[in-house]
Symmetry: none
Subunit: 227 residues, 2 copies
Amino acid sequence: MKTKILIVEDEPAMVAGLRDNFEYEGYDVISAEDGVSGLDKAMSDNPDLVVLDVMMPRMSGLDVCKQLKAKRPSVPIIMLTARGQEIDKVVGLELGADDYVTKPFSIRELMARVKAVLRRASSPAPVPEVYKFSDVEVNIRSNEVRRNGDLVDLSAKEFALLAYFIAHPVETLSRDRLLDAVWGYENYPTTRTVDTHIVHLRQKLEPNPEEPRFILTVHGSGYKFVG
Amino acid sequence: MKTKILIVEDEPAMVAGLRDNFEYEGYDVISAEDGVSGLDKAMSDNPDLVVLDVMMPRMSGLDVCKQLKAKRPSVPIIMLTARGQEIDKVVGLELGADDYVTKPFSIRELMARVKAVLRRASSPAPVPEVYKFSDVEVNIRSNEVRRNGDLVDLSAKEFALLAYFIAHPVETLSRDRLLDAVWGYENYPTTRTVDTHIVHLRQKLEPNPEEPRFILTVHGSGYKFVG
DNA sequence: CACAACTCTTAACAAATTTTTACCTAGCCT
DNA sequence: AGGCTAGGTAAAAATTTGTTAAGAGTTGTG
């Protein structure tokens, strides 16, 4: 699932530049040209993060920020401000913006801040730190998997796949859904790729890979994890 | 017993804002308007945590932090700094602050950090003054690293990187996260820059740099320190 | 002010590892 | 039995990391 960024900015050239860069980094981008429609889109299109210019027609970015935070407190906001603008007071506490960048800024800096804010926003791990089944122990934080205490070497994709299974136990997960969740939309390999990774996981984690007890096949539908 | 927060900050509006938010979250709040009285109250009123502005009349927050840590090492401190202020990105290492937030900040971020620090403080996992692994001895305060007693010459970035690893053992740290923490946002180099520094650290600290035992790579994810 | 020493960053190429595809076999379902 | 679907393996393709070196920028010194 791609991360969706809303850019609220009245200068078309700036929007275009930002759009290019964000899309290049693999984000979905939507945009609005003034405060009012920006607020609308923020409410209706559920962006994962909003980049908000302070100076805009119709409604100032500051007001947009305030109103948006009141209605959708969990959506992170990064403000674009001109140098010397009264950032200090307004941006921080009262408005609830998560970060800001002063114009002119480097794309890299903005990108870094976006990534950091997103990381912070999503950091509280929904799954318990350490998950156990059978003789296997999965530590999400350290990317470690142990079997009888011995480290098992999983690749990044294998680990991500396993983590997704753990987060969605019992449910039957289609290959397409796994591709969406673990691989993302950008590079969409064959559904058979999923199978290969399943095989690897079984070989590394199942007591008897030929007769899986944890990662089960649901013929014609997909796979299912039972921990 | 409510958790007691001491806010040391000279700007009344900021104090008021913080007070509201902390009280709303169920904390007891006391405050001081300058460094000297802040230090006094920290000593006399036994707060569970101190939020400390760097820029203040009479005594800088940095000095307050240093003195307070010398006298009450166990009281957690979170610093409020302005952007660009010369704060060692690695969480006020020299001063012993537990975390810091750059102004302007979102109240959510500060609150998250307060909670995190309190959680850490209650569970015994302090980073000791001198950290040892293998034949290596790292002195956080004096920025010194010794190997078998011999001084190892680390550059500033190398040391900061190492310190961050030590502060986050076992956890897998992505290159982006390391860049945020050690480099900061303003000048954001390539992720490959991280790799180069890792190489240097390994060459200087690992018994056998080709087969790292302490700074491990997690292919596809980042690096991980196991001390 | 020039020079040397040093640090940080980037680039380039090689090496290692992972990911994907391809293909063949075995199993499931009607 | 026949047509799909999944398991298993290997090899190709792609990505990621290690390593080295060179250039830019800094600092310290004569």
